[in-house]
Structures are given as C-alpha cells and as structure tokens.
Amino acid sequence: VLSNGPVLVAFLVGGIAAITSGVIGVFSVLRTQSFAGHSLADIATTGGAAAFLVGVSQFWGFLVAGLAASAAMEAIGVQRRKGRDIATGVVLGGGLGVAALFLYLGTQHTSRTGASFSILFGSIFVIAPGTVPGIIAAGVIALGTVALLAKRLLLTAIAPELARARGVSVRLTGLFFLMALAVVVSLSAVAIGAVLSTALLVGPAATALRVTRSPVRAMLVSASAGLAATWAGIALAYESYYWPPHGRTWPVSFFVVTLVLAGYLLTYLRRPRPVVPRSPHEGAECSPA
C-alpha cells in the first residue's frame, strides 16, 4: 500500500486534516457551533465550485469562501447564542445558492458532470502533491490561532459574562475562532469532501468530551480518534477494490464516517460516571486559571 504515491499523499493530508479538526472540534462542540462548522464546510463548496470554474486549485477556493462566510456569520449575529443558528442558516442558504450557480456554469463550460460529486464528497486519492505545503501551512496557522486563544475561547464559551467582566472581547474572540474554524474546515473539505469534513470536526471531539472532562485531554483523545478513523478508512477504501461490485473502490468518506460514528456510539456503552459533588477548585481545568 505504502509504495503508492497518491495513497501516501492521502494518508498525509487525511492525517493533518484529522488532527487539526480533532483539536478545533473540541472548541466548536463546547461552544455549540457544530452547525457553523458544518455550514462553513458546505459553503466552502461554493469556493470549490468557483475555483473549478476559474481553473484554480480547489484548496484556495475552499479557503477564501470559508473565510468570507465566517465574516458574514459574525456580521449577522453569530455571537448571540440565540441568533446563532439562524445567522448560520441564512449564510448557509445564500452560500449554497451561489454554489448551485457556479456548479451549473462550471459543468456548462467543461461538460464534466462529476464535478459536484467530487467537490462535495472529496477525492482524497487525487490530491495534487503541490497543494500539500498549503494544506500544512493552513493547519499550522489554525492550530496556532487556537493555541493563542485557548483560554479566552474556553472562558467565553463557558462563562461569557465573566469573560466580559475580565475585559475579554467576546466578539473578537468569536470571530478569530470562526476564521480558524473556516481554515480547518476547508482543509478537511479537501481531504474527505466539503460535506463530510463535519464528521471529523464533530465526531471525534464529541466522543472525546464524553470520555474526559479536561479540555487538553479531550483534544488529545479527539485528534488520535480522528487520525485512527481517517487512516483506517483510507486503508479500508484501498482494500475495497477487491470487494463486490468488483473493479472500483468504495468511497473513503463512507468508511471514515462509519468509523467515527461507531466510536461515538461506543461511549454510550460506558456506564455514566457517578456524579460526585465537585469542589470549586476541581473545575479549574475548564476555567481560564
């Protein structure tokens, strides 16, 4: 398997996407922004379609559309918990409408009908090696942003009033987080498809947060679970060439999603931890300290 160039690139890019999504996912699950994460991935298809139309690498299209959408969500009012999912839904609807137009124009010009399918569901085995440095750079930038903001992100998620009282700008923190989220989502959209990048963002993080309460440990568990699911998914997809119906591989995204979901459902088998009354100091892991 490992002597195959495209498969090696798939392992590399898939691995980077899984780790960065796993780490950022913990914050987006804690901040109840799964919908935003999924929408940014969906809207990134607009950029993917535009890039396809212009003839640029899809990666840049994904990135630009994701960043623009995160700014639009913030402008409409994603920072208020109540208006959050409506702002997300409005931006998502607009983005998908534009994507439909771009895809239509793109297929008109090039008569490649598979375009919408490959943009939505990804094509991890046909990533141009030239885009790999960009993908690594985007991952590092997003992880760096989140590392710098980690304490503020947790504080504004758990106790926004307290954060405001301490002089933390809830709005600016939220905007930077959404932008980091957009970068990560565009990254994993290239890897396993715009739609299914949601799986890597939400699944491993939700699994980890059911297993441990410490954010740092949750990030480690989440990143490793995502990595395991992605690599196993790629290996299974490669192997599925020999499965019925013969002659072609099953989609990678199907395997990754199934593994991620299986991991999440496994946590339901654990007996819930007895609720021990906690001293105020014990919760220090979650507080900005």
Partner: protein, 113 residues
C-alpha cells in the same frame, strides 16, 4: 416584462411545485426557527438525498427512499438528542446519511458502467 415562455411548456409545473414548497416551508420554518431547530431543518433534507440514491439503486420510486430516510433521520436525532448535545447528534446523523449516500451513488455508478 414576462416572456411568452413564462407560463407555457414545463413552466406551470415549476410554478405550482415551487409555490407549494414555499408555502409549506414558510409555515414549518416558523416553528423550526422558533424552536432553534434550524440545523435539523437543514440536516434532514440534506441527508434524505441518501434515501433517494438508495431507492434508485434498488429500483424503487425515489420518493419512498426520501421519505424513509427523512423519517429515520428525524427519529435518530430525536432518540439520541435527548441524552446528548443536540447539535452534535444532528451533525452525526447528517454525516452518516451522507456517507451512505456516497456509497449508494458509487455502487450504482459502478453498475451503470
């Protein structure tokens, strides 16, 4: 000015179908927004596409596939959502249905070749 084509040929069906959808969605959407279920409102129709792909694979009417997956998705979100974070469960249900859809489409395009 409206051109002559606007109300002839296939266009009447387009007007009728779009109007029905717009009115039903407007009424249902009121409750979806009020209850903060926008994500579910997006996830269920999105994921139901997998049902259409599956029905097409089996040679059944696509409407049945859509209906079965839409109801199954809603039940899944409802069942798991009572015990865990609602948006997480919605996202995972959506993603599972889309993964199945990708599989169905890839299998049927293999048969088509």
């Amino acid at each position: 000015m409206l051109s002559g084509m606007m109300f002839s040929g296939l266009m009447p069906n387009t007007w009728i179908a779009a109007s029905i959808v717009a009115v039903i969605a407007g009424v249902t959407g009121y409750f979806a927004v009020l209850r903060g279920e926008t994500f579910a409102a997006h996830a269920i129709p999105n994921g139901a596409f997998a049902g259409a792909a599956g029905a097409w694979l089996l040679g059944v009417n696509v409407i049945w596939g859509l209906a079965v997956f839409a109801v199954a998705g809603a039940l899944g979100i409802g069942a798991l959502g009572s015990k865990a974070r609602h948006d997480v469960v919605t996202a995972l249900t959506l993603v599972l249905m889309l993964g199945l859809g990708a599989l169905f489409v890839s299998i049927s395009s293999q048969y088509a070749q």
